[in-house]
């Protein structure tokens, strides 16, 4: 393969993994904006999406179009329980306690998944066949298109939700100033709950659409979650377009790095970027610096 085609190939696969990172990153941002918490269990929702779908498909023999929404729903339910049982009892806690409790939650969810479904790696069937599509010499799987399509759809929905629905606007108000939002009659606790439910659902869907390509197992959540966080950091923890761009940049850089430098160090790329951004531009690539009030 000549270099041009090769680059196109890396770009295409990078964009589709990048889209996944973007979805996970938006999940992080939604919770962060509503609560100031970085939810270390975010990756576990991604894992739950894939594993639940697999379970519904293979054990309950449900068709794919029922299994997927059901899996998303179940994951959202886990998100709801997680907020109720772990986050709410600690509302006034220090960041360190919140970090620790979400890590505890992540370990618990991961452990339970291992207990229920075992340690094997599974693959999910593609949504519409595995017939590759040729594009200027590069190959593209139908699943790649599904990923890009669903991501676009979700981002659109997300945008619409936050700018055109009452709940979405209320959540934005909470992220600017929870106290003021409470004073004008917004139920802040409900919005926090809602943010966990939405993030869990989004993470789960990301986990479902990526599973046919990358396989799924009880422990895929760690890496996917961290990469998603990295996307959110590049985007400055916004729940909008900058995080999407962050995810795509990360996906493409990773894919190029794996192809041109070394596949072994692929995972390190995301974390080097993460550290560089945190050190040099903690407000994200596109944000303006903020000063902290004390």
């Amino acid at each position: 393969m000549e270099l041009g085609t090769q680059l196109l190939q890396y770009l295409l696969s990078g964009l589709s993994t990048g889209a996944i990172y973007a979805l996970i990153g938006i999940g992080f941002s939604i919770i962060y904006n509503a609560t100031g918490i970085i939810n270390f269990a975010q990756g576990e929702f991604v894992m739950l999406g894939g594993m639940l779908t697999l379970f519904l498909l293979s054990v309950l023999q449900l068709p794919l179009w029922i299994a997927i929404p059901l899996a998303v729903l179940l994951a959202a339910l886990v998100g709801l329980l997680f907020e109720r049982l772990a986050i709410r009892p600690l509302r006034k806690a220090s960041p360190i306690s919140l970090v620790i409790i979400t890590i505890g939650g992540a370990i618990l969810i991961r452990g339970l998944a291992m207990l229920i479904w075992g340690k094997d790696t599974h693959s999910l069937p593609s949504f519409s066949g595995d017939e590759p599509i040729m594009l200027a010499g590069a190959t593209l799987l139908p699943q790649h298109l599904w990923i890009l399509g669903i991501t676009l759809l979700l981002i659109g929905l997300n945008k619409w939700f936050f700018s055109h629905t009452t709940s979405g606007k209320a959540m934005r108000a909470c992220s600017y100033n929870p106290r003021a939002a409470g004073l004008v009659g917004i139920d802040v606790r409900r919005m926090v709950l809602l943010s966990f439910v939405i993030s869990a659902a989004m993470g789960a869907l990301a986990g479902i659409i990526v599973a046919p390509l990358t396989m799924t197992a009880y422990d895929v959540g760690i890496m996917l979650g961290l990469k998603g966080f990295c996307a959110a950091i590049i985007g400055g923890m916004s729940s909008g377009l900058s995080t999407v761009i962050g995810g795509l940049i990360l996906g493409v850089l990773e894919s190029l790095g794996a192809g041109l430098i070394s596949s072994g160090y692929k995972d390190a790329i995301a974390f080097v970027i993460l550290l560089l951004i945190l050190f040099l531009r903690p407000q994200g690539l596109f944000g303006k610096p903020e000063s902290e009030r004390v």
């Binding site: 939650g105 370990i107 452990g111 291992m114 340690k119 072994g264 995972d267 390190a268 993460l274 050190f279």
Partner: protein, 332 residues
Amino acid sequence: MVSRKANGFSGVKRELAKYLLFTLCVLLAPFAFLDSYLLNVLVFVGIHTMLAIALNLLLGYAGQISLGHAAFFGLGAYLSGVLTTTYSWNPWLTMLVAAVVVGGMAFAIGFPILKLKGHYLAMATLGLGIIIFIVFNEWVEVTSGPSGFSGIPNLQLGQLVFDSDLKNYYLVWCFVLGCVLLSVNLANSRIGRALRAIHDAEVAARVVGVNARLLKVQIFALSAMISAIAGSLYAHVMTFIAPPSFGFNISVELLTMVVIGGLGSIYGSFLGALLLTLLPEFLRFMHDYDIVFYGGLLMVMTIFMPGGLVQGIPDLFRKLLNLRKGKGGNHA
């Protein structure tokens, strides 16, 4: 003033008494477990205690989280392992070199990394830990990669080769005792008070003249150094090291030890390390599923016993006592 001075004096006495009691227990413990595999487990309790204390200095005293401490542990182990085995360096000298190198590294990276706070710091240290972990795995020419690095010599002192559980026990616990002494002293010194001030209110601490930034970086470096020494000891005791011993899970396990024992309590770290190292021995029947237990434990402890066992157990007793007296409803 006079009464405070007297108070301080008795405080020192009490610390000394606690330390001597602890030392006595440590020295006598092996006689209860001679010829038992538990002696071997206790060697690892020692190594974990060092690591937990190191993390606690950072987390419990300075209030700065690290989710990458296993990487410093691993760097110490790999530096000692590779330099003594491949390059035949003197193990004791290597241990010193490893501690200085890792400490220096942490000092350098501490300036940018400790500028971050809370969740961001957690993620940055996590990222750092994962990068180092990936290097252990991928730099195969030096570290032998995922299959692990073997043939590391035991430590030696003149004619004495540390090659049995009993000898290793005393070797490791000598270091632990030194570590405890250093930490207790540090915690009760001017530096310890300054650290606690940073922990509670960093800006206020800076206003009254604490150089918060430098102090945080220094304690980060010290913490990394202790972890590196624990790593060197681990390498020489095990004579074999592999990347999974230094991954993210281990960082989380260390965090669990510190939280369960009690943030800011040196002996609490020992308790946490003891509990979490012994527990798997008793949870053998659960195989790998013991991780469910850790996750649950971490959550339950954070919600119901945020002060850890060191505070939680006395509190629990007091509550039970109050309940007996029928005053249970008084605490809110």
